[in-house]
């Protein structure tokens, strides 16, 4: 029996996609960017605020200084400004990239305004703080003030330094998050089907067509990913820091020796050459598995089964290497200075568990529509075991990576977690807690893995939080501290989910829901655990 992709389902999916797009457009048009500020201690022990921005600002430096001064004096604070912008007098070629032209780097030091007889505070210009303007000292004198001058200044800088984001960093990064997350589900399904071929598994034959349908997303997902990568190479987005040629050029003021040492791996030609390999291997194997699966329905015999066995094993070998290197290139290189050899497995376990969850959710939906009656409780139970087990693989790998980095405390490694603990702390720990505690507590028992309600609720939660996991991998290195989960993120996720389900269901409707000539089909239909 075929799945009927009725116009009603299509209409509902279009409504979902349209709703997601509408939310996204609201988010896109109100996207804000702001200058980055962080506390800095100067040599003489003064606390200052380092304000940085490395792209074209919609206002001039002078206008910004004026506005901060005005706002600060209303709060009873004067501010010293020190321009820290690099001057490129030493540059070899005497030419600067577009980044240098737009560089903004200033040190702001707040002082509480003298209320009784001002004695020569130089407003702006000097940065010597030999007078009584120390932040700590003056704080006690003005006991009624709710915030310290530094906090007030931070607030003012945030307010005055926020402007509409014409570079749309959040949209680009989200496009990468969603493109990768859903491509990952397709990839997880492809890995899973190859694993079943290579191990000649009997239990999963009833899932074959569903897996193939999910794999059907790969070509579409690849287009989105290639688009983001291409945009990165064209400098339309700035997700990948290393794609900026300035960091690789020893003559440039922005030369970064750590990144430059990685040039063989992080270079445009190698990146694109590997992309060709990743996509061609994944897509060709996906196409081959699907083709032979349909052929097997017509021909029967064991010839195709044995061929799938060999191809599946070969794919697993390739996938083992490619999935790791792929995640280094696509995701890990966003945090360019940082590296972790375990990262590929963490990404892989994430995509595998997402794929498993999606399979289960899809099966329950199909069952509610009256399809796939041949998938019995034992099949569901087995897939539930995978969902349970891979959740722990993910937790295990997350913890392994975290603990070693925490333990060794080497600067080049801890940066990754410092970024995440700074601005992403609650979302990171919520994700880890949800993805670990919920499965271990609620999915442990046999009954829970067979229960529709349990699987639906836990599956939906885990699905969302594995998306958040990808979000936390991408965002800290690409949009830094100005992340949010708002209309933009939710809308794009919903739109992608709608498109993904549309493509999956369309692929599903093109072939019968149950294979006919698989050698283990009969065994599988009587599967009982």
């Amino acid at each position: 029996m075929n799945f009927q992709f009725t116009s009603k389902i299509k209409r509902n999916l279009f409504i979902i996609i349209a709703a997601g797009l509408a939310m996204f457009i609201i988010g896109f048009s109100t996207e804000k960017n702001h200058m980055y500020s962080e506390l800095a201690n100067t040599e003489d022990g003064t606390e200052s605020l380092l304000v940085e921005y490395y792209n074209e600002l919609p206002f001039t430096k002078e206008a910004f200084i004026d506005r901060v001064k005005t706002a600060a004096s209303e709060q009873g604070i004067t501010v010293d400004f020190v321009d820290m912008t690099l001057h490129h007098g030493t540059e070899v070629h005497g030419e600067s990239t577009h980044h240098d032209e737009f560089e903004f780097k200033m040190l702001l030091t707040p002082h509480v305004k003298e209320t009784k007889g001002s004695h020569g505070h130089d407003e702006g210009g000097t940065h010597g703080v030999e007078e009584d303007g120390h932040v700590e000292d003056s704080h006690g004198a003005h006991g009624g003030v709710a915030h310290s001058p530094m906090e007030t200044l931070e607030h003012i800088v945030h307010e005055q330094g926020t402007f509409p984001d014409t570079g749309h960093a959040r949209s680009w990064s989200n496009l990468l998050v969603n493109a990768f997350f859903f491509f990952g589900i397709g990839l997880g399904a492809l890995f899973f089907i190859a694993l079943q071929y290579a191990t000649e598994s009997g239990w999963g034959v009833v899932y074959k067509r569903i897996l193939e349908a999910i794999i059907g997303w790969l070509p579409v997902g690849a287009i989105f990913l290639i688009f983001v990568f291409f945009a990165g190479s064209m400098h339309w987005n700035h997700i990948w820091h290393w794609m900026d040629p300035a960091v690789m050029d020893p003559g440039n003021a922005h030369f970064d020796p750590i990144i430059a040492n990685k040039q063989p791996f992080l270079s445009q030609w190698f990146f694109w050459m590997m992309n060709v390999i990743y996509f061609s291997v994944f897509l060709l194997f996906a196409r081959g598995f699907r083709k032979r699966s349909l052929q097997e329905d017509l021909e029967g015999g064991t010839k195709i089964h044995m061929k799938n066995f060999a191809k599946g094993a070969f794919f697993l070998v390739l996938f083992g290497y490619l999935s790791s290197v792929m995640s280094w290139h696509w995701i890990m290189s966003i945090d360019t200075h940082w590296f972790s050899t375990l990262f590929g497995w963490l990404v892989f376990s994430g995509i595998w568990v997402s794929a498993t969850i999606f399979i289960l959710l899809l099966v329950f939906w199909l069952k509610a529509q009256g399809y796939v009656k041949f998938i019995n409780e034992s099949h569901i139970h087995d897939m539930g075991k995978w969902m349970f087990a891979i959740s722990f693989l993910w937790t295990y790998l997350f913890f392994s990576q975290f603990m070693l980095i925490w333990y060794a405390d080497i600067p080049e490694e801890v940066t990754y977690y410092l970024d995440r603990f700074g601005n992403y702390k609650w979302i990171l720990w919520t994700t880890v807690a949800v993805n670990f505690v919920i499965p271990i507590v609620l999915l442990m028992s046999r009954e829970a893995k067979r229960s529709k309600i349990t699987i639906l609720i836990i599956g939906s939660i885990l699905f969302v939080f594995h998306w958040v996991d990808v979000f936390i991998m991408v965002m800290p290195g690409s949009v830094f501290d100005h992340w949010a989960i708002g209309f933009l993120e939710v809308g794009m996720f919903i739109a992608f989910l709608g498109m993904f389900i549309f493509v999956v269901l369309r692929t599903l409707s093109k072939a019968p829901l149950l294979v006919t000539n698989h050698p283990y089909l009969d065994e599988n239909l009587h599967h009982d655990t």
């Binding site: 913890f399 975290f402 603990m403 925490w406 333990y407 060794a408 405390d409 009982d528």
Partner: protein, 177 residues
């Protein structure tokens, strides 16, 4: 009180399962099945109660978790303060990541050993324990079903024998205790 035990031997697990199904459908309670390997689905057929080994395993694991935590707290923090990876904060919580692998391993160790020992004890199969299976061939290629008249008051021993004879058995034995 005399009890007659009937042993029905089969040379194939499927034949035994079919026979058991037939007997159970007649209302006979099959006490036990002896087999060289696990027979898939036999538990449900003869109505074996669900094992409580899982609960035991959880308790053993919990014991291991607590022992490991208390032990490491005492060894590493209280008794002899250790500098853990350059983080000498002398606090169990702040150094928690360092303790998790050992907690995990010890939990698994206690759960696994506790489970194995409980299993052997409960089955009477610890090394040196006397064998309780009715026929040594059930450790090789024979399958034996045990039916007790004391558990089947509706039937006499000869009734049960007659019913067993209608299954695909190879040997039939009776023992009065």
């Amino acid at each position: 009180m005399s009890d007659t035990i009937i042993y029905a031997m089969y040379d194939d697990d499927d034949k035994l399962v079919d026979g058991a199904k037939m007997l159970v459908s007649k209302g006979i309670h099959v006490n036990e099945v002896f087999s060289p390997m696990p027979i898939h689905g036999i538990d449900d057929v003869i109505g074996v109660r669900h094992t409580r080994l899982g609960i035991a395993a959880f308790l053993y694991g919990l014991t291991g978790l607590m022992l490991a935590t208390l032990g490491m707290k005492y060894f590493m923090i209280d008794d002899w303060m250790m500098n853990i990876g350059g983080k000498p904060s002398f606090s169990y919580l702040e150094n928690l990541p360092a303790f998790i692998p050992i907690t995990f391993e010890f939990t698994v160790l206690c759960a696994a050993h506790g489970m194995a020992i409980t299993y052997f004890l409960r089955n009477g199969t610890l090394p040196g324990m006397p064998a309780t299976n009715p026929d040594p061939r059930t450790t090789d290629d024979r399958f034996v079903m045990e039916i007790r008249t004391s558990e089947n008051s509706k039937y006499s021993a000869s009734d049960i024998q007659a019913l067993v004879r209608s299954t695909d058995f190879v040997e039939l034995d009776e023992k009065t205790v």
